[in-house]
Subunit: 204 residues, 2 copies
Amino acid sequence: MRISELVDRTGVPLATVKYYLREGLLMPGQATGATQADYDDAHVERLGLIRALIDVAGLSVKRAKAVIDVIEHPESDLVRTIGRALEELPPYGGSDAAEYPRAKRAIEALGQVYDPDYAAVAQLERALAAAEAAGVPMTDDRLRAYGGAIMELAEFDIGNMSTTDPADAVKYAVLGTALYEPVIAAMRRLAHQDAVYRALGGSS
Amino acid sequence: MRISELVDRTGVPLATVKYYLREGLLMPGQATGATQADYDDAHVERLGLIRALIDVAGLSVKRAKAVIDVIEHPESDLVRTIGRALEELPPYGGSDAAEYPRAKRAIEALGQVYDPDYAAVAQLERALAAAEAAGVPMTDDRLRAYGGAIMELAEFDIGNMSTTDPADAVKYAVLGTALYEPVIAAMRRLAHQDAVYRALGGSS
């Protein structure tokens, strides 16, 4: 299809499509003349991913480009590949600390893999330190209860992920992380409300 | 104790303590003279809460004041009281819609209480709409799996909450929501990593 049809089908304005082409987020079409190129369904799909990353998940163009680079050049190790893509998602923050004592202790208590290079380790350390500073430190009981429930969420997520196609796996991991964290936060607030109703003996 | 000792014990600068007094976040001390007042442990504790809300949870002074107003003037209904306090937490966003079709469907499918006035309902609607727009809509399977795991988290939280002292319950709900959502998000990312290792047959 011509670029004008790509604009029609996706609703992305022509100037924006050209910008994504220049920045390398959208792959070039097949040249059909000096100033014309042919686009296909892969371009429609890519534009959908770019809009999801930028407009819905709130990534900068630079970070969206980094995610797409990972999709186009996956490493042979799928865990590393996904880890690199997830580093482009918020929250951003210094991860140059040498040690993550709270995170290490929690991860090891849960019997999970501890890899300080994985960005979520620094993220957990900051979150645990903040809870501690606010006077509501993580307890062993809470860690155990949360760990089990959160592993259930994660097992479902990974059970539905392709482990053979790295591009699909990265897309799924990035969108599933960026877009389902807010869903989970809202669902937990609503579950609290429901649980309080029941704790107070109200009918729900 | 004198205000200077309150400053020493909490590490909150004198000018900040005076500002919180003026704004009504910190309750006045017991007057002991024309320009002196006596403070006690309740003031130390309140300053800890104010710092947690503002410095750690990132609330504005105005929103922290609103949380404290709820603590000082709870409604007779504990669910409403907590709901009012939780409205001061991010994410903020228009909740003037008349209907929340995606949230309503999800909440009813889970058999939970649907109360469109509860801020988390609008929050869930926005999160589900964003996931849908990004091409990863909530499925029935995912809703069921998430619903069960998230209710486990919530049951633990509520099981550890005072249902007799509204002030304690509000503090616990606000800090537990603001400070544990980032912990849960980080733990889920780490559980993903662990589950991928295991799915790929790696040793963890």
